[in-house]
């Protein structure tokens, strides 16, 4: 039984087909990269998986259950957590309260939620800002808070949408470290969208490349990076690619 399956997934906004018959399978335990140029439909695919948008056609299965017509909150409870590319902290709540609100997805007691939140906050290196208002965090903190909120719902699948964008090199390393830990320590399957090659090539087991909403290719990072269309349509010069691999 596959973990997550997208079958001919299609989304049209009026005349614009943002996602066009994308099919893919994610295996339990892997880090699955999703790449594509700006506006190619990556975020839209995430929005379809958690039913933030309703699908135009196609089907989504999670652990064998069709989730295509479930509600967003139900999908979160089934075990799919996500981060938002455009971060959405609950601004006037503290970091701890943000994470607690998410933790209540599995916990019913105040103390239980607080305990889960505390663990997740430590895990995401947010301990120092635990009692800060989420709205006052700098971007790196907000990105990690996105991950923390998603983790607090105790997902088995995590969708990470450009959680490394806009970070400086040291923050970037911290983020990569956390993402790796999520799989190695928590055993959570990850689909990751990322523009920074250093990140995606480094940590993905397999990569799925799309452009203009349609699949270009899928395979190991090496295979995908070598694909002529990917190089042409997306990666540009080989240099960036090389740099990514060496880093």
């Amino acid at each position: 039984m596959s973990f997550l399956v997208l079958e001919n997934l299609t989304k049209a906004f009026g005349g614009l087909v943002a996602v066009n018959k994308v099919s893919l399978e994610v295996k339990e335990g892997e880090i699955f990269g999703l790449i594509g140029p700006n506006g190619s439909g990556k975020t839209t695919i995430f929005n379809l998986i958690n039913q933030y948008y309703s699908v135009t056609s196609g089907k989504i299965y999670f652990r064998g259950i069709e989730i295509t017509s479930k509600k967003t909150f139900e999908i979160a409870r089934l075990g799919i957590g996500r981060t938002f590319q455009k971060v959405r902290p609950l601004k006037r709540l503290t970091v701890e309260e943000n994470v607690m609100a998410a933790a209540f997805a599995r916990e019913t007691s105040f103390e239980g939620a607080r305990k889960v939140a505390s663990e997740v906050i430590d895990f995401c290196n947010l301990t120092e800002v635990k009692y800060f208002r989420a709205g006052s965090l700098p971007i790196a903190g907000r990105k990690r808070l996105e991950i923390a909120k998603a983790l607090a719902t105790r997902p088995s699948l995590l969708l990470l949408d450009e959680t490394a964008a806009g970070l400086n090199p040291s923050e970037l390393d911290e983020a990569i470290e956390i993402i790796k830990k999520i799989r190695s320590q928590l055993g959570i399957t990850i689909i990751i969208v990322e523009h920074i090659m250093k990140v995606i090539m480094n940590i993905s087991d397999r990569i799925h490349a799309i452009a203009f909403g349609s699949t270009i290719t899928e395979g190991s990072p090496k295979e995908v990076a070598a694909h002529p269309t990917v190089i042409e349509a997306y990666l540009g010069t080989d240099e960036t690619l090389q740099g990514g691999f060496n880093a």
Partner: protein, 331 residues
């Protein structure tokens, strides 16, 4: 005095002092039914303001139609009396429940709307109810209203009834806000879509917030019927005098704070009465004409300079005051 820890919430020592004061102060005015009446109204507005605050201040659903629930609560107490002679006192039980049912039904419509559209939707539903209750005379006796000879002349029993309701309202909000539901309300207020993504059934929790809020508003309405002995649609479903004033009470005291609406209620009633009575006859008579005007100006001032209300911006107010005193002293 020490904090009292109960299962669902804590009564801090400050709150214990407040509770004591709300018992003692009214007793000091044992020979003034006028003052007792004021205290009763303050408590009624505490109930309305806190109930609105749960839905608007904590859950972010800014209702402009709380009169609908206050009104239906009042009629839940009054109608069975008018038609069948059943004591309006039952309204203290049925008023809240009727309001919850109404809230659920109206919620089917208004919860489809967001932000300012929700505000307008709630306003429209309350106005429609006001008109219906004025027109359907066979059911409601229309604008002639419902009359009931009140049970007691003495005001103290009424005061302690509404006092108990007010405390129950405030502490139910406090308990809720310390629970999972409270966190969910806040999440919905901050970002409804982000809330869904962390597994919150936003629709369900908006309805829960609405249910608790409308329950207390309806109970306040039933109390009004019992206490005043007269209701008519223009009074209990009033857009300005109920729905809007409820909002303003919340804003002045501080939306999204436990004690804000209570403080707002005190300020609202006191400001209005001080001016209405021309500072108990000490000021020139024309001042009594501007009582509502002063309150309106106060609202503008608060929105401009203390967006968090008196309770929400308390630290800021204290700081400003200290600075001001410092300046005076150095001069």
């Amino acid at each position: 005095m020490k904090d009292i820890n109960l299962k669902f919430f804590t009564i801090t020592k400050y709150e214990q002092i407040i509770i004591l004061l709300t018992i003692i102060i009214p007793l000091l005015f044992y020979d003034s039914p006028y003052m007792q009446g004021l205290f009763i109204f303050i408590m009624m507005w505490v109930v309305l303001g806190s109930s609105w605050n749960l839905l608007a201040g904590y859950t972010g659903q800014v209702s402009f139609g709380h009169a609908a629930y206050f009104g239906i609560g009042a009629y839940a107490a009054g109608l069975p009396f008018m038609h069948w002679g059943i004591s309006p006192w039952w309204g203290l039980l049925t008023g809240g429940i009727t309001a919850v049912v109404l809230g659920y039904l109206l919620g089917i419509v208004v919860f489809k709307l967001r932000g300012p559209y929700f505000a307008l939707g709630t306003l429209a539903t309350a106005e429609i109810l006001r008109i219906i209750f004025g027109q359907e005379e066979w059911l409601t006796n229309g604008h002639n209203g419902i009359l009931y000879v009140t049970t007691w002349v003495d005001k103290y029993p009424y005061y302690f009834i509404i006092w108990a309701i007010a405390l129950a309202t405030v502490f139910s909000v406090k308990a809720l806000m310390k629970s999972k539901a409270g966190f969910y309300f806040l999440s919905i207020r901050e970002d409804e879509d982000a809330a869904k993504a962390i597994g919150i059934n936003t629709h369900k929790y908006k309805n829960i917030s609405m249910a608790v809020s409308t329950f207390w508003a309806g109970t306040a309405g039933a109390f009004y019927m019992i206490y005043m002995g007269f209701i008519d649609p223009e009074v209990v479903f009033a857009l300005h005098n109920i729905s809007i004033i409820t909002i303003l009470v919340g804003i002045i005291g501080g939306v999204g704070t436990i004690w804000g609406p209570a403080v707002g209620a005190i300020i609202m009633v006191l400001v209005q009465e001080l001016f209405r009575s021309a500072f108990f006859g000490l000021a020139p008579q024309w001042i009594s004409k501007v009582h509502a005007l002063v309150f309106g100006l106060l609202v503008i001032f608060v929105i401009l300079y203390m967006a968090g209300g008196v309770v929400g911006d308390w630290d800021l107010i204290v700081k400003k005051f200290r600075k001001f005193r410092l300046k005076k002293a150095t001069k």
